[in-house]
């Protein structure tokens, strides 16, 4: 059977797009992107992470244009990103340099620098706050002023820059496996498609830009028995990560601004052969992503470790994990099922009719 070209959908598509536009404006209510940028932090962080493009302004525009549909917002940002030149690569940025806004450990109660809760939804009662329905701009300003006038210490010795890592203390005790600094240039999955087996940089890049829900589900599967073991979160840190670009020499780079990052180190106990003895040590699972998205980063650390160690369950299978976590790949392929498949379906239908006819005769 040959392909058959048909026409006739153009006007209907045009009208469909007009309907889509109308859906966004039909209530006659306007919201500007500055308001979205100021108030939709969680959504923006998620789409910046999944689109692999850090820009609150573009993310808020994508949110408005997509009517809050995250897969569309990420698609818009990925498409826009492809129109922009890549001007520079940053110098190596290390979250040890982060200006920390929140840092907790579930492995140790007492950690140097302390448990710093910062701003988090973790301690909320998940009850709808109906007062927000009536909240006005004046109310917002009052709440802002009240917070800013809270009693705070006259001065603070709190160390938020170059905060020591929890894992350093396990390293000092020889309880973590040591790895030398590895300056091998990373691969870039946005420039060259992955081939299997992958290297570590490809895995981490794919996971960090993976769909939040998918990465979380895979991490959850790892915990429930489809992975090695139950990790302990050594450290979650969220903060402002300074980014530099070296143009002429590495000695004196340009500072271009700071971006918000989440970084997680999970501790996973493993048996290691040492001097002909089985010794218990900890491996570290690593997760990091744009914005404040702790669940994703923790799940990423579980999946990272599963992919590093190998095994027989699905989350140890790098093809299974890495080819399915990307939101554009997965939603694109699922969505293509909505496209006309008239010819393929007719072929199947014809086969079934023939089989049925032959069965009767």
């Amino acid at each position: 059977m040959a392909y058959v070209a048909v026409r006739g959908g153009a006007e209907a598509i045009e009208a469909s797009l007009e309907h889509l536009q109308y859906e966004r404006v039909k209530h006659g209510v306007h919201i500007d992107t500055a308001a979205l940028e100021a108030t939709m932090r969680g959504f923006l962080d998620q789409v910046m992470s999944e689109s692999s493009l850090y820009s609150e302004r573009l993310a808020s525009l994508a949110m408005k244009q997509s009517e809050g549909n995250s897969e569309e917002a990420v698609f818009l940002l990925r498409a826009h990103r492809s129109t922009l030149p890549r001007l520079y690569y940053s110098t190596v940025t290390d979250p040890r340099e982060m200006f920390v806004l929140r840092r907790i450990s579930s492995s140790f109660k007492d950690i140097p620098g302390g448990q710093i809760l910062g701003a988090s939804h973790d301690y909320l009662h998940r009850l709808l706050d109906f007062e927000l329905v009536e909240e006005t701009e004046a109310d917002v300003l009052v709440k802002k002023c009240q917070f800013e006038q809270e009693d705070v210490p006259d001065s603070s010795d709190l160390q938020l820059e170059r905060l020591p890592k929890v894992m350093d203390y396990l390293r000092a005790e020889g309880l973590l496996r040591e790895f030398p600094v590895n300056d091998t240039e990373p691969s870039d999955v946005t420039k060259k498609a992955m081939a299997f087996p992958t290297n570590r940089s490809q895995r981490l890049q794919t996971l960090t830009r993976g769909q939040t829900g998918t990465v979380t589900s895979l991490g959850y599967a790892g915990l429930r028995g489809y992975g090695a073991s139950h990790p302990n979160v050594g450290e979650v840190r969220v903060g402002w990560q300074p980014i530099h670009v070296a143009v002429q020499d590495d000695e004196d780079p340009y500072y271009i601004g700071a971006i918000k990052l989440t970084e997680v180190e999970s501790f996973i106990p493993v048996n290691v052969d040492k001097e002909q003895q089985q010794v218990l040590e900890f491996d570290v699972g690593y997760g990091a992503c744009f914005g404040q998205n702790e669940t994703k980063a923790i799940a990423m650390s579980i999946v990272d470790h599963a992919l590093e160690t190998g095994g027989t369950t699905p989350i140890h299978d790098e093809e299974f994990v890495l080819l399915h976590v990307d939101i554009i790949e997965s939603t694109g392929f699922i969505s293509h099922l909505k496209m006309p498949h008239y010819v393929t379906f007719q072929t199947k239908l014809e086969q079934m009719r023939n089989i049925k006819k032959e069965g009767k005769s």
Binding site: Y54, S55, L87, V152, D188, R200, Q205, I243
Partner: protein, 139 residues
């Protein structure tokens, strides 16, 4: 002052000052735009702590501008779409590269450094309230 420190102060707390400093140079010298401000991307290379290797965490939207002032070239790069600010940073960079940055700018940077320190101190004082003070329960 190192470029990294100078650009950090201007970007974090010195936007208004950067505009005024650039204006001062533009009034005294001919500034040629080598690269009009344009949007582009910086790919962020990151060190992960588990195996101490490198990977790319994603790209950051930036604006880049390049100028020439006399014989000196200047480059401005800043996060987000900030064409006016990026050009101002480029003009200031050229002034330092050409050694014609006015002496009084040193005072501006001292003030900016104090402002950044004050802002960070304010953040610390506020965040300190969220630091957990554990008390061991008597049972």
């Amino acid at each position: 002052m190192q470029r990294a420190e100078r650009t950090k102060l201007l970007i974090e707390v010195g936007r208004q000052e950067a505009m005024e400093m650039a204006k001062m140079i533009c009034e005294q010298y001919e500034v040629i735009d080598i690269q009009e401000p344009r949007a582009g991307l910086v790919m962020v290379k990151m060190r992960e702590s588990a195996k101490q290797s490198l990977f790319y965490i994603g790209e950051v939207l930036v604006t880049e501008a390049k100028v020439k002032v006399g014989d000196a070239f200047g480059l401005g790069i800043v996060r987000e779409e900030e064409p006016v600010f990026a050009r101002a940073l480029a003009v200031i960079d050229a002034a330092y590269n050409g050694n014609f940055a006015p002496q009084e700018w040193a005072t501006i940077f001292t003030n900016l450094s104090q402002r950044l320190e004050a802002e960070q101190q304010q953040t610390k004082r506020s965040i300190e309230r969220t630091k957990v003070q554990f008390d061991t329960m008597q049972v």
